[in-house]
Subunit: 210 residues, 2 copies
């Protein structure tokens, strides 16, 4: 299922349907790509404006980074659906003999790791997007500051969605070492995302930009 | 510009582009429709499950409400782009004679009111969606609780986007009475949205659902 080629209505309809995929994970990736697009738009609306001339280089870097991340996020939405479907396939494996049970349990842990890796990757990309939202809030066109803030709000939501999807899958993970690793990583990313988020909100409030 | 008929990639590309519309407002409406779709999915995944039999009626109501709101939200994305374009048209009106200045100022206030009404309507719809997210969190299939939470997170973000768009336009509004009205309304909606949001987070945490 290639999300990027579906119409907005088709995608929303598919999410709403009885089928669990696409679910929160794929939606999180699309929302993160909208966040990236909004930061890119603010950078685009800043370029060529005399008042913001000294930040042209920064804005060009934001645009390039967001273009790449948007592409990767589209791919991540697809991967999320694939990982989920793979997991559902594993659930259907036979579990009658001891040998079958063992194979099924092993495949389950593999599929689980994949189902965690996708939202974990989403959380990392969201951290990158919100850093760029911070740049366009500080140095970008102030007429579009509500769009910079909107980008940050979507990053916050996409991060929470990514985290929820990591957490729900971690519950069934047996490998305690790996579990600890993911928890630490998510914790670290959370600090970074909320660090940017707080700075964006503070900047806007302190300067009365909104 | 009919957002619902664009592909996801086309919409994201349009947002990212140099043109200020579609911007945060239209994105907020699409994000709110994704929130509604996620709550609807949780209700769909609850229907027909013996364990949740007593909540069938609630789930059916959620599905019907979300179907309607999703349609209205698609329409709101389109209206947001139209309101913005109308505002840009007014900015181009001549302002040489006193008469022209007067007409332009009046038209500006009209266009501004429209540009505020759209995100204000978005905020109201988001309040309705998150009330339904609360219902599916409490009574819906617990295997999909991460999707119920994702719905709530998207509502929170869409509300903040709506609020930012109301605020940025209120800055240029001359009618103090109307300004006061919008501020009070947004404040009231904020209490309701965050009330639902906090209860959802508390429920999930208290019951260890995630």
């Amino acid at each position: 299922m290639d999300v990027s080629k579906m119409t907005v209505k088709e995608f929303v309809d598919e999410v709403a349907s009885k089928s669990p995929a696409p679910g929160g994970g794929a939606v999180g990736a699309v929302v993160a790509s909208l966040a990236a697009a909004l930061s890119e738009m603010v950078a685009n609306l800043t370029l060529g404006k005399k008042k913001y001339q000294e930040w042209e280089g920064e804005m060009e870097r934001v645009i390039e980074t967001m273009e790449n991340i948007r592409e990767e996020l589209c791919d991540l939405a697809r991967k999320d659906i694939e990982a989920f479907n793979k997991f559902m396939e594993v659930l259907k494996l036979p579990k009658e003999t001891e040998e079958q049970k063992k194979i099924r349990a092993e495949k389950m842990q593999e599929a689980l790791k994949e189902a965690i890796d996708v939202p974990y990757e989403l959380a990392r990309k969201v951290r990158d997007v919100i850093k760029n939202a911070e740049i366009v809030t500080e140095f970008g066109n102030k007429n579009a500051v509500s769009d910079a803030l909107s980008s940050a709000e979507l990053c916050r939501a996409a991060f929470e969605i990514a985290k929820a999807n990591v957490m729900i899958n971690l519950r069934s993970m047996k490998d305690e070492e790996l579990k600890k690793y993911y928890l630490q990583e998510i914790d670290e990313l959370e600090k970074q995302v909320y660090g940017s988020y707080s700075r964006i909100k503070e900047m806007i409030e302190k300067n009365g930009w909104l």
